[in-house]
Symmetry: C2
Subunit: 327 residues, 2 copies
Amino acid sequence: MSDKAPWITYRPELKVLDCTIRDGGLVNAHQFSDELVSAVYGACVEAGIDYMEIGYKNSKRIFPKDKFGPWRHCDEEDIRRVVGDHDSETAGLKLAAMADAGKSDWRTDLVPASESPLDMIRVAFYAHQVSEAVDMIAHASELGYETSANLMAVSNINDGEIDTVLEAIAPTPAGTMVIVDSFGHLYREQIDLLYNKYAKALEGTGKEIGIHAHNNQQLAFANTIEAIIYGCNRVDATIFGFGRGAGNCHTELLLGFLRNPKFDVRPIIKVIQELILPLRREIEWGPLVPYNITGQMNQHPRAAIEWREGDTPDDFVSFYDKVVADI
Amino acid sequence: MSDKAPWITYRPELKVLDCTIRDGGLVNAHQFSDELVSAVYGACVEAGIDYMEIGYKNSKRIFPKDKFGPWRHCDEEDIRRVVGDHDSETAGLKLAAMADAGKSDWRTDLVPASESPLDMIRVAFYAHQVSEAVDMIAHASELGYETSANLMAVSNINDGEIDTVLEAIAPTPAGTMVIVDSFGHLYREQIDLLYNKYAKALEGTGKEIGIHAHNNQQLAFANTIEAIIYGCNRVDATIFGFGRGAGNCHTELLLGFLRNPKFDVRPIIKVIQELILPLRREIEWGPLVPYNITGQMNQHPRAAIEWREGDTPDDFVSFYDKVVADI
């Protein structure tokens, strides 16, 4: 990469993960049609995207099948139904699923990687769940999966807690550790500090650092660029920013920024036009004022989501007053 | 400002300019009701905003009064009608108007500052108009106005041209020189390079550097933060990002980021809810896909604006194909 105008060259080792279905599914209990999931898969393959996260490997006890769609559980037969005879090598794309600590029956639900279309298990956890996360990573790794450690809500814990998590994750076989800004709270300089902290703690382990940004303050794409500038080589995005509340870093903005000629933004624009824009007319997401407010206040967007679903969604002032009164 | 966590402290010399009416008026030929302009003024005063740019001081020959609202010309009597007996000192807010090189009868239309509610004239110009801009700055300055030099479309000219403009502006009485990303094209590292270039060229002149960002790639707020981190002390924004095409850096996001306790975001949220959100239902703006595309390609958003006003506004793929074919 050139030092003079780095934005017109690229790092071949930088890989993009599209989590449209996994993260977007939190909006609609993962009740997507097979057609939509299949179209997103096709667009990701055509666009040169490296990983598609197709859903969660979460518990059917906690998320029963009559209330949650198949992408909350990612049974192998469901995946095969939409990706056909997917082969990672041929497709140039690996399939990933996320398993949440505390919400996944990972001991029983994970099959050996050789029997699954999935290549990767991403383990999502809060700081206090790190011990289970370490076990999950070890188990998935033994089954032959690539793994990653996604410490959520990093803006909401202190430096000592982050350090302790990093110490616990460093010796695991996880190939990636992801900086996850669940609340969409972080600004540029905070991304820098976190990247440096993660990089220092994981030095010599061969782990890559990832970024997963939310758009509460319209900073998801910018923070993703920032993490890339610092050295993140694993980058999450969703098509048209689809995701709960304010949504995510937009895949189409990211691909427009990346200069590796293997990426092609056109198939993503096509699927936006044909499927995601119509979905946006039914389901709301994006950096609206209530999400700006919770992001700025470093709060979970839950209250903002409820406000938008309530009787006075556009009464931004009352929401602001409520949030300020509650802190 | 602390080095350790600079985002929780502030620089008292950083000043915010709200250009909602001036820049937003490009969408509707500045046909705002007096009530709206007055409400925006009131919100800016209450919010602690330092400057409100209330419109253009542009030519009535080029923008006739039967087609353009009063905020394209900013006659003193029109301004007084909406701001009453405004006094900058008491209000804690100065009024500004922009004059475009080539589109302003500045020799005849500017009255002495002592006879105007305006405190500041911002001179907007393209690189090739720098000689007129220098004359405009000198003239406005002699009349008693604060002045600024706003070189537009800086992503579209080469380094030699920028250097030549900076050399011409350096000896003028302009108090500020603004980095203007008219096409919403710039990424973080380009902002850094431009800031450093401007700062070096203007060193010792006492000039402040400003930032005026557009949101074509959802980077307006992020680039504004970046410019602030580097040292920009003059920062432009519009309420709810109101502006032509993709719009601008959002005033409410900016105030939520700034830590000077004189700023209060609540009046801005209130005017969004009461007046700007209803306006958004009539007039479209924001970082939609066609604006992403022109921003990425470093093009004027004109083609994207026309596309959104045409027969197939949601046919993003055809727009993409057209733009790619045209370059």
